[in-house]
Symmetry: D2
Subunit: 144 residues, 4 copies
């Protein structure tokens, strides 16, 4: 592993750990490479909608965060990113043992990073694509 | 209050109470009228992003739910709604004492309900518009 | 009318006239005020989809341009704007004598302008809301 | 080629030919397979924005149509499709000899088809991704 990759992974791991939302969702950072980040989470009992499926807000949070960290993985150390906008299409109910969100950078840029994410639900051996997201991250100055 | 309005409010109150996500977010149903629903929530310590602001997933969850319940407020009792797709533009950081999401039906329909939502942050006497959402809800059969 | 308003109107009129697409669509600038712009166009025979309605691309083009010029109406003279992203929900077929797109700035900003637009179809005395748009414009340096 | 594929191609070719917008854009159907359709068009002089690039409405029209025909390619003969909503992120200016839009079905469905599209600009030997779209098509009864 290149030294710079290790720095990026450390940095994203630290940022992820500082997002209390990720802890509330039971989420963990499952993969980091330049321009692509994977986040996994179970569907906790406290994160359901009225029919007992995972709430759209859970699926969104995982997809948005995976996309945001994918963008951060390509940024210099003095920059952070914020979501400017993102759209989610929900394809299937969030049911299963685990949700897996994969975020990717489609177009890096100094002012705007265009990103996408896919969220799959794993139930036993079956993977189902449950959501796709497309959005824009904005680089901002990192807080000291 | 008309009898049918009371039934609608009861029904949305019951559905809201069954969304464990709303409890995890500390959210409460703050207003229901035909085609418009308001949800309020504090920014709990466990729902922050890396800079200490409310997570985009919190703002999204409130806006999406307000929009969904606005759609449900116009549906007959044997129908429920699911989010097909929704887009959020984040305008300002989620900071303050309270977040207030107002969902509205823009175009009702038997097959698709087009909805929007605004999310404001209240800090003392100041209200700041922090997000706007635009999306589509799909009527489905209600579960017994 | 304030001197600065006159300059803004002149500038938007010039920019609009330089968009050959607006001529192809038969569109005209129907109203300019700070943060709000209106564009009107007939549904020309050459701009239809397979069922004879106005093409989604026509409705989009009018809404996107109205939103973009609303953003430009708040920019200093050395800045132009480009669409970064925009989403359209189509509510009803584009039929009628005239399409009227009204763009508005929801949140101005130095780096990003969040905008929305509504498109109505006029048929005789009836106005029908046929589309809503929500998007982001990016200020860029104006060309000499 | 299977008989059913030939019927699909014929049907999409006929529908495409009936969209006068496609003729105005100088667009041609460049590829049809089940769930994927490609449309190509030059950047005609009458389809420019104020800086001389192709108008966002041109890029949108090609991407939206490619996505719509991708959905239609999976529908039975008595069904047509309409765009319910679609979002475009514009990544680079529309400049070059040819625009190429590729639409794909991400999730087929009886009530909703979730689709995406990419638009590339070709200039000499260089292909540039200039836009991505994500949206929803709705099956409707075909007109006789």
């Amino acid at each position: 592993m290149a030294h710079s990759d290790r720095i990026t992974i450390d940095r994203i791991t630290r940022s992820f750990a500082s997002q209390t939302m990720m802890q509330t969702l039971g989420a963990r950072l499952a993969g980091v490479s330049p321009g692509e980040v994977r986040i996994e989470a179970p569907i906790l009992p406290g994160l359901r909608q009225q029919q007992g499926f995972g709430h759209a807000g859970l699926t969104f949070s995982l997809g948005d965060s995976a996309a945001g960290y994918a963008a951060l993985s390509l940024m210099p150390p003095d920059r952070d990113v914020l979501t400017a906008e993102i759209k989610i299409n929900l394809l299937a109910p969030a049911v299963g043992d685990l949700l897996m969100a994969t975020g990717r950078v489609i177009k890096p840029g100094r002012r705007l990073m265009v990103v996408s994410a896919e969220v799959h639900a794993q139930q036993g051996d079956t993977l189902t694509l449950i959501a796709i997201l497309q959005g824009t991250m904005v680089p901002v100055a990192a807080r000291a």
